[in-house]
Amino acid sequence: MKREHPNLHPRLDPASAGSSSSGYSTMPSVNTNTNDDTSCKAKMWEDDAQADGGMDELLAVLGYKVRSSDMVEVAQKLEQLQEVMGHVQEDGISHLACETVHYNPSDLSTWLESMLSELNPNPNFDSVVMPAQPSIDDSFFTHPESSTITSIDFADHTHQRHQEQRKTNKHSRDVVFEDSSSSDYDLKAIPGKSVFAQPHQIDSSSSSSRDPKRLKSATTDHLYPAAAAASSSSTIGAGAAGSFGVSTESTRPVVLVDSQENGIRLVHLLMACAEAVQENNLTVAEALVKQIGFLAISQAGAMRKVATYFAEALARRIYRLYPQSPMDHSLSDILQMHFYETCPYLKFAHFTANQAILEAFEGKKRVHVIDFSMNQGMQWPALLQALALRPGGPPAFRLTGIGPPSHDNSDHLQEVGWKLAQLAETIHVEFEYRGFVANSLADLDASMLELRPSEFESVAVNSVFELHKLLARPGAIEKVLSVVKQMKPEIVTIVEQEANHNDSVFLDRFTESLHYYSTLFDSLEGSVSTQDKVMSEVYLGKQICNIVACEGPDRIERHETLTQWRTRLGSSGFVPVHLGSNAFKQASMLLALFAGGDGYRVEENNGCLMLGWHTRPLIATSAWRLANKQVVAH
């Protein structure tokens, strides 16, 4: 993509009236000062911007991804929206606020574009309502006093700058759009706005992409404006996945609740003990573990429990009394059910994943969900009900549930399927079920699943807190992801713990998990039912034990962060499908039902949703599809 580069500088462009700019962006000003230094500085800024993959660094730090080269276009869209919103009745605005689903507000350009489309449904951009005069106060941008500040220039010599652009507007004060090599506009020309809310799925980055070749390979005739399911990270620079020019190094978010004296001493002891273990100084470690045990008893609340679990895990590591693995599946199911009842994490996971699946299945007549995390099947009644209620009637629903073998030879997977079948019958949803027992997801092959042609049946793959386990064996995650690709899924929903508990350095792992589980345990403190709370703590305690006491293939709780998963999925050929403001809102409302609801927060993160306790995200839901998948019209 060529940047507009030298043509932007009016000093070099004789036709323009203005001269210098000290661009912090690439736009020239109309001031009459000619200043050699500042225009050189302007070039410098521009070059800097390019070096960062073009992202405006200052905005990036504030959470907005805007390429420096797109800044003008984004400004124009903002202006246009202002103008249009000024004309539209209040209803129009409230429509934008209530009915419209918003996606990924970090991607300003696309977000603005989606709102413009909502307010201007006319797909032909020539007839888009354009202000004859820019709506901003002209004096704002002309007569700049200072030579160190740039302005937006809307005079008609603008078009000379965009020499490669096709569309120009002859009126002198009109705002010029970037041309249709920003091919989002090409797509806009295709008629037929979707009646159903279908995510706008093109294979490329958002409208800021200038690569026409790439975009032409995508076909879509659904122009639901609110979503751009694009992987912008793949065009910007995969290495910086998730970053906007901000450091990609991990952060350690901490929320302290009780800063009592004993709590701090406990943490000191735990850290000292972990350090001793790391140095293989087992005598010291042993002594410290005993001290922790004594001190923990005197502590109240979450800190006591967390300390106890971590101390036990450390002790196991020191004495090499590794926990049995795997745990009896029926026990872990029971624990998980209590966890499900006590706090919203699992419910949030199921809810948000179902939301994405529901949207992906819109208009499909036959659907197949492949669940990597079947357990007790708690996720599926809600989806079945939602499908039963959808306008036009439910699809035929097939569920493949995958789970580990049970120790008591009972076929619990079949039992779960049977219960779901009964539910499906009462709500008149055609239902088919198959349970699959596998020790590991990596044992699966697509051929085992009796997949049907994708034109006939749409597939969703669902994984809640399962994928990280595959990181315990080399090659496993790669195998599973490639099998997923063979399933040709419409959507892949993934929920994972938002933490890096897979660092190769024991002490780092210990520290991260100590912070994470402290916060998690804090969030449980408000629960009403003591029994549920205790069971949940045991459930989590098993994870702690695994992270701290185990190694090698036994250490299966290898949680990684959303940023890490994004990189992995991106390089495996998946692109994000964004979750929007509707899912966000409903998830937030769901949280209010939980005790301690005040502390639970939903956060939007580049199209994914995260649930956290106060300001610390704890789990993240993301949705994906194949990079080269064409959206099939119907």
Partner: protein
């Protein structure tokens, strides 16, 4: 009267989003607001020598504050127990910061304010405590002030924040927009309760009155802000039925307090020349002067609201310098 393009984009984007969130009936689309707000987590791993962590300082109201500190040149990252390690210098300014957002928007973990607070730490060599106060319209006056007061008491009682010189916490109150307004009112309460505040820093503080001033009429709708939205936010914050001469928004108005003889902290008040409420901000400065209080006015003729959110203009650097001097002049 020019702004850098990316600043214009940033502020216009906020303006646009905010327009979507305010409903004519006075309610607020909180879910959409939280969805759109760009947030950043605290980070106990130092970035540029500064780390942060969150503390729930009042469980009852879920009042949280984000604390920013300099690493004392220590190579390793502080773990959970080391976050509240005592400050090591003779004098450490502690700035209690109240973010802006017209009482309704933003949070302590909003990216714009996290960034601003980190800058303040570096520039002032201070500890910054950013208060996540309750917002309107769900929580009206005096909730935000109450939360500010709670935070002040909490900060004042932290032994780890005491400067070595006199074993006291050296407290400054700071805020932009509604945060500036909160800083004033918390200072009032502090004075009444005998807590020493060393200084107030008010950036484009949000004040108003019942009458329409010249600047309000002249600049209405010109630079991102309209009188209509200002009115909406006051209606959302003030008690039902109150008018804009309520002392919360008009501290030197007909119902205001007389500060003559009161040991009010010295103030640094920054006014942007393109801010439509500047007449009220200037009236505030006058009010302080008339009451014999120490106040420095920094009037930036060509600045718009939000200029301090990006370090790409002279006003930003001027203000940061002034703040740095203001905070260090007590050493």
């Amino acid at each position: 009267m020019v702004v850098p393009l990316n600043t214009w984009v940033l502020i216009s984007n906020f303006k646009l989003a905010y327009n979507l969130l305010r409903r004519p009936d006075g309610t607020f689309n909180r879910h959409l607001a939280e969805f759109l707000d760009r947030k950043v987590p605290a980070n106990a791993k130092p970035v540029d020598g500064i780390f942060s962590f969150d503390v729930v300082i009042d469980r009852g109201t879920s009042l949280l504050s984000r604390i920013y500190r300099l690493t004392d040149g220590e190579p390793s990252q502080p773990n959970m127990a080391e976050l509240e390690k005592p400050v090591s210098s003779e004098v450490v300014p502690v700035i209690i910061f109240f973010h802006g957002g017209s009482f309704a928007h933003s949070s302590a973990n909003s990216a714009i304010y996290d960034t601003l607070c980190r800058r303040l730490v570096g520039i002032c060599k201070a500890v910054v405590v950013s208060v996540n106060y309750r917002r309107a319209p769900e929580n009206r006056y005096p909730c935000a002030y109450d939360d500010g007061w709670t935070a002040l008491k909490w900060v004042n009682s932290r032994t780890w924040l005491e400067s070595k010189k006199d074993s006291k916490v050296h407290i400054y109150l700071a805020g932009d927009s509604s945060g500036g307004n909160i800083a004033h009112h918390v200072a009032l309460r502090a004075v009444e309760s005998g807590i020493d505040i060393l200084g107030n820093i008010l950036l484009n503080p949000m004040f108003a009155g019942q009458e329409r001033t010249e600047s309000e009429k002249r600049l209405d709708g010109k630079y991102f802000v309209t009188l209509q939205d200002r009115d909406w936010y006051w209606r959302a914050f003030l008690p039902e039925g109150a008018d804009r001469d309520h002392p919360a928004c008009n501290p030197f108005g007909p119902k205001g307090k007389n500060l003559k003889g009161v040991k009010f902290p010295k103030s640094l008040v920054v006014v942007a020349g393109l801010d439509l409420i500047q007449d009220w901000q200037l009236a505030y400065v006058e009010g302080l002067k008339k009451a014999g209080q120490v106040v420095k006015l920094l009037y930036l003729e060509q600045a718009t609201i939000g200029f301090y959110l990006l370090p790409n203009n002279n006003h930003f650097h001027t203000v940061m310098d002034e703040i740095s001097k203001f905070v260090s002049s007590n050493c």
